[in-house]
């Protein structure tokens, strides 16, 4: 799934929270997540539908009718009703953000957290388990590892979790060593180059 513009997430969170409250009441929060994910994927493959939802040129009534025709009976009533409300507020364009916010909100309430891990080589099973354990301790939640193999890391790990970045990579150490050498060089030049040259 394409990443969602963070700017819309704040807005999406409002709808997502309300939706989640209702779904929790009815006890089908997980089903709704599946439906929303499915919907988001469907929208991705149908850009013309996104345009229809997002365009101010189309009247709300037309859109409402389209929603009824497309989804009523195929999706849960809760979702269709939610879509109608979102349509009335003119926020159908932010549907993908709402879906993403819903996913994050649900995981948050379940005490789960996404962790992005970048390594130069794929993680081995033992390492993955150890990482999971220590991250669970660090965050106090159940981590879901999203792994990425990125050769530019060179070695070590870069872990990003809930706005915090833990960087033990060889790349960043080399970078800071480079900066230290550069600083030393400029100090030495400032002091004079006599010690390093001869006639």
């Amino acid at each position: 799934m394409k990443s969602v513009d963070d700017r819309n997430l704040g807005l999406g969170r409002l709808y997502a929270q309300a939706l989640l409250d209702l779904a929790d009441e009815q006890g089908n929060a997980d089903e709704l997540l599946e439906e929303l994910t499915e919907l988001a994927r469907y929208l991705e493959s149908h850009p013309d539908l996104v345009e229809l939802f997002g365009s101010p040129l189309v009247e709300a009534d037309t859109r409402a009718a389209t929603i009824e025709k497309l989804f009523r009976g195929r999706a849960s009533d809760l979702l269709v009703d939610a879509l109608q409300v979102i349509n009335r507020k003119g926020r159908l364009g932010s549907l993908r953000a709402i879906a993403e916010a819903y996913r994050q909100e649900l995981r948050d309430r379940r005490g789960q957290v996404d962790v992005l891990i970048r390594t130069a080589v794929p993680l081995t099973g033992g390492l993955r388990a150890r990482l999971s354990d220590s991250l669970a301790q660090f965050t106090g939640r159940t981590p879901t590892l999203i792994e990425k193999v990125d050769p530019s890391v060179i070695g070590g790990l870069v872990v990003e979790v809930a706005g915090t970045k833990i960087d033990t990579s060889v790349a960043s150490r080399l970078k800071s060593l480079g900066a230290a050498l550069e600083r030393r060089a400029s100090e030495e030049i400032h002091r004079g180059t006599a010690a390093y040259t001869s006639e």
Binding site: D6, R7, L9, G10, E160, G163, T164, K165, I166, D167, T168, S172, R173, S176, L177, A180, L181, R184, S186, E187, E188, I189, H190, A195, Y196, T197, S198, E199
Partner: protein, 574 residues
């Protein structure tokens, strides 16, 4: 020339061997949008207001707005190199600048980075950009003069150390010249000067630095420049950086400092730009609501700190700042008034701290083991000369009225006077110094006491006389005197007058010695007279410096000297 490769390699090896790094754990956010020197950043939920941020391209930022999902930050440096989605990390510290003696004689940007090509500035000291002004307990009233070397200012609008005196006027009326002369006049003295150029042309700043260097003033001056081409965040922080650098000398070394903010109208404009881009609501003249606080918190940092004395063991070094060495009076704050300490730590403060400490010391049985110690980091001061540019003499615009109300007086420069040849073009009628009078030397007070009123009366008469009416002799005399006094207060640029020279010169004018000279000859006569006194009667200057007063006998002596000099000059001319 050959490079010693081994030498270089060994330094690098050593550096690598010493290199240690901890696990890098930091809170990061992502740039949502960037432009015109500001950035909106998603995340950074733990960021503090005013915190320093680091962008992926190495630029620094400062947190301005804390919003629900994002923070608004200003970018100090190259914002063109920042892209959407870039990583931004918190540093956990407020913005600070390097300070200390290493900066003296240097030209730096508002973050303390050198602009003069003289290499890195190595100093272990840093101070926060924003620093809360001292409270009433740490201050003392302004009581020591800061000589500007400008006759009209020192005589009629005296400035004291720790005072904020606004220099206000239209463009090209000599505002910077007055401030620059005040810096030049500190040569040989104990004052550290900081000149902050905000939003000026680089060429102007270069010219100014050259003038400072030519006159040997760079030996005690720091120049901070945020030119018109620099991003507005840098222009906005420049005065705070200047204040922070001066504060080092004031708080750590107890020294007197002079800071010139040239000029604050441009700083207010850059702050307005930032605020509007950050979508803070605009108010009058589109300035944000806190533009008054912008200047008041800056100028409140100008202060004359109190002096602190204590009774310490005799072998305490003179530069000790350890307050715990002070012996406490057994009765504490209940002690008799003439030897009562001023705080619970047993220290004595101005105005009579030294006398009280000595009085108590004299009553001690083992007084030979102790001495009165003045803590050397106390008694410092920061004098501010903010500059405001007006349009068409309009002092009732928003920013000028704000700064006028914050400062302890203003020096008002007028274009009409400037073009009439009165330079410095100070309008002494509406220029005031609200606190400097207490700091003026007695000698100057005696000669210049009535000068302001006389000049005001002269201006009234002058307008009247232009009608061409017949004047009685008394009025005519007053007019003649006025014209000569105005002439006497003219002064070329880069030629600050010593306070004693000013006393002699104004004494000559006020006592009518110039009345029979043609107006055009006044300055020539003054120059020759001062030369004569310096060469033939140096004891007059010595006496003035020693007593700081003008006794009746000394006044009589000066009178005789001037009279003799005049007769002599006449005889030579004839």
């Amino acid at each position: 020339m050959k490079f010693k490769v081994d030498e270089i390699a060994s330094v690098i090896t050593e550096e690598i061997r010493r290199y240690r790094t901890d696990i890098d754990l930091s809170e990061v956010g992502k740039v949502l949008e960037v432009g015109d020197g500001i950035a909106r950043i998603y995340g950074l939920t733990g960021a503090m207001a005013g915190e320093r941020l680091e962008f992926q391209n190495g630029a620094f930022g400062q947190v301005f707005n804390l919003e629900e999902d994002s923070v608004g930050a200003v970018v100090l440096g190259d914002y063109l190199g920042i892209r959407e989605g870039d990583e931004v990390r918190r540093t956990g510290e407020l913005l600070s600048v390097p300070c200390g003696p290493a900066l003296i004689g240097r030209v730096v940007d508002p973050l303390g980075r050198p602009l003069d090509g003289k290499g890195v500035i190595e100093t272990p000291h840093r101070r926060p950009l924003e620093f809360k002004a001292p409270g009433i307990a740490e201050r003392q009233p302004v009581n020591e003069p800061l000589q500007t070397g400008v006759k009209a200012v020192d005589a009629m609008i005296p400035i004291g150390r720790g005072q904020r005196e606004l220099i206000i006027g239209d463009r090209k009326t000599g505002k910077t010249a007055v401030a620059l002369d005040a810096i030049l006049n500190q040569k040989g003295g104990d004052v550290i000067c900081v000149y902050v150029a905000i939003g000026q042309k680089e060429s102007t700043v270069v010219g100014l630095v050259d003038k400072l260097r030519e006159n040997g003033a760079l030996d005690y001056t720091i120049v901070i420049s945020a030119s018109a081409a620099d991003p507005s965040p840098l222009q906005y922080i420049a005065p705070y950086a200047g204040a922070a650098m001066a504060e080092y000398f004031m708080y750590a070394q107890g020294r007197a400092t002079l800071v010139v903010y040239d000029d604050l109208s441009k700083q207010a404009q850059s702050y307005r730009q930032l605020s509007l881009l950050l979508r803070r609501p605009p108010g009058r003249e589109a300035y944000p609501g806190d533009v008054f606080y912008l200047h008041s918190r800056l100028l409140e940092r100008s202060v004359k700190l109190r002096e602190e004395f204590g009774i310490v063991p005799k072998d305490t070094p003179a530069d000790s700042i350890d307050r715990s060495l002070a012996v406490k009076h057994p009765q504490g704050l209940e002690a008799p008034a003439e030897q009562r300490p001023d705080d619970v730590y047993g220290l004595f403060h101005r105005p009579h701290g030294k006398e009280k400490a000595e009085a108590w010391l004299a009553t001690l049985s083992d007084k030979d083991k102790y001495r009165v110690h003045r803590f050397p980091d106390t008694g410092g001061s920061m004098t501010a000369l903010p500059i405001i540019e007006t349009l068409e003499g309009e002092v009732s615009a928003y920013i000028p009225t704000n700064v006028i109300s914050i400062t302890d007086g203003q020096i008002y420069l007028e274009q009409d006077l400037f073009f009439a040849g009165v330079r410095p073009a100070i309008n002494v009628g509406i220029s005031v110094s609200r606190v400097g009078g207490n700091a003026q030397r007695k000698s100057m007070k005696r000669v210049a006491g009535t000068l302001r009123l006389d000049l005001a009366a002269f201006r009234d008469l002058e307008a009247f006389a232009q009608l061409g009416t017949e004047l009685d002799p008394a009025t005519q005399r007053q007019l003649d005197r006025g014209q000569r006094m105005v002439e006497l207060l003219k002064q070329p640029q880069y030629r600050p007058y010593n306070v004693n020279e000013q006393v002699i010169s104004i004494f000559a004018g006020a006592n009518g010695f110039l009345d029979d000279l043609p107006v055009g000859e006044v300055l020539k006569f003054e120059g020759a007279l001062l030369q004569h006194v310096a060469n033939e009667h140096p004891e007059i200057y010595e006496e003035l410096d020693r007593t700081r007063d003008l006794s009746k006998e000394l006044a009589e002596k000066i009178r005789t000297v001037i009279r003799d000099f005049k007769t002599h000059a006449r005889a030579q001319a004839a």
